[in-house]
């Protein structure tokens, strides 16, 4: 009789723990979302690189050697035109990356029977979007004032903070990805002018690497179990 109560107590405590973690963390994030975002990011960086090379060499050199400010070597029209092109590219990359991430996450949510849009995922998005929006505004001011070289490090650092903030609501692994993005952004500050390379590593390489790690850790088993 006693033993039965004890076993039951253990089971109850396990259940309580599982419900607590399930109700505060969002586990539908999928490794493929990361791989997808990384590939899109890399593709975007490659396109941007080819555009930079097509620009008049002065611009190319200015961007590469820039140490803080635009020195006015290139005519304003070429400069503004190129800036708009890069902005559109950046927005496209973002939209395609998020759309893919949504697709994979939604698919996993359906498989595991978790609702995609619940209080936890809302909390996660809210806590991530505050640093993201602030970082975006910050970067736009850099752009407007001709400090392009600071945009990539600012994006990486703020994105890292966003991941760190959101990691409380999902797999804690995301926190380490956040640390790495922040560290990369800081290192980029020492190598201003190589933003595109750092951008490609942070938004491309790290996402792919992390996506594969997450897939291997959480999704592979699930995929086998359902198959």
């Amino acid at each position: 009789m006693k033993e039965k109560t004890q076993l039951e107590s253990v089971r109850t405590l396990e259940e309580i723990r599982s419900i607590m973690s399930r109700s505060v963390r969002f586990f539908s994030l999928n490794g493929w979302s990361g791989v997808w975002a990384g590939c899109v990011g890399l593709a975007g960086a490659l396109i941007a690189r080819s555009w930079i090379q097509d620009l008049p060499p002065v611009y190319y050199n200015t961007v590469r050697k820039m140490r803080g400010s635009y020195d006015g070597v290139v005519s304003n029209e070429v400069y503004t035109g190129a800036t708009i092109k890069f902005l559109i590219l950046a927005i496209l990359v973002l939209v395609v990356a998020i759309a893919g991430g949504y697709y994979f996450t939604n698919r996993k949510a359906k498989q595991t029977g978790q609702k995609l849009w619940n209080s936890t995922s809302k909390q996660m998005i809210l806590h991530m979007s505050i640093p993201l929006v602030m970082g975006g505004i910050f970067s736009l001011f850099f752009l407007a004032n001709g400090h392009e070289a600071y945009i990539a490090p600012a994006c990486l650092i703020f994105y890292g903070i966003a991941l760190y903030n959101g990691s409380k609501y999902t797999y804690s692994d995301i926190m380490y990805l956040g640390y790495m993005e922040m560290a990369l952004g800081v290192v980029n500050m020492f190598f201003l002018g190589y933003g595109l390379t750092f951008w490609a590593i942070g938004f491309g390489g790290l996402h792919i690497l992390y996506g594969l790690i997450m897939w291997n850790k959480y999704d592979k088993k699930g995929a086998k179990a359902t198959a």
């Binding site: 109560t5 109850t12 405590l13 259940e15 419900i19 607590m20 109700s23 029977g113 209080s119």
Partner: protein, 99 residues
């Protein structure tokens, strides 16, 4: 505590009720659908257990609106938190006696 089994709360005998309390202990507030998603129960079943917890004043019900749709949220009360913690402590004691 001589016999921790006596300290177990009868109200928390139900798996659904203890599930509701666990979820509300770590979330500021949750609505009906959140709870349903977490525990995999039917609407009627969940509603009955929520009612019981509300009657014991372990949870607080807030009726609100999201647009034109009603949105009822649930949160844990101080008394609820105490009862839940006591129940957990009793469970822990039972397990400790195992060793």
């Amino acid at each position: 505590m001589k016999d921790p089994i006596q300290h177990l709360n009868k109200i928390f005998d139900s798996r659904i009720r203890i599930g509701i309390m666990s979820a509300l202990a770590v979330n500021e507030k949750l609505n009906f659908n959140d709870l349903k998603g977490i525990m995999d129960v039917t609407d009627g079943n969940l509603a009955t257990h929520l009612k019981t917890l509300e009657e014991h004043e372990y949870i607080k019900v807030q009726k609100g609106f999201v647009g034109r749709k009603t949105n009822t949220t649930y949160s844990i009360t101080k008394a609820g938190h105490k009862a839940f913690t006591d129940h957990l402590n009793a469970l822990e004691e039972i397990i400790k006696k195992m060793k």
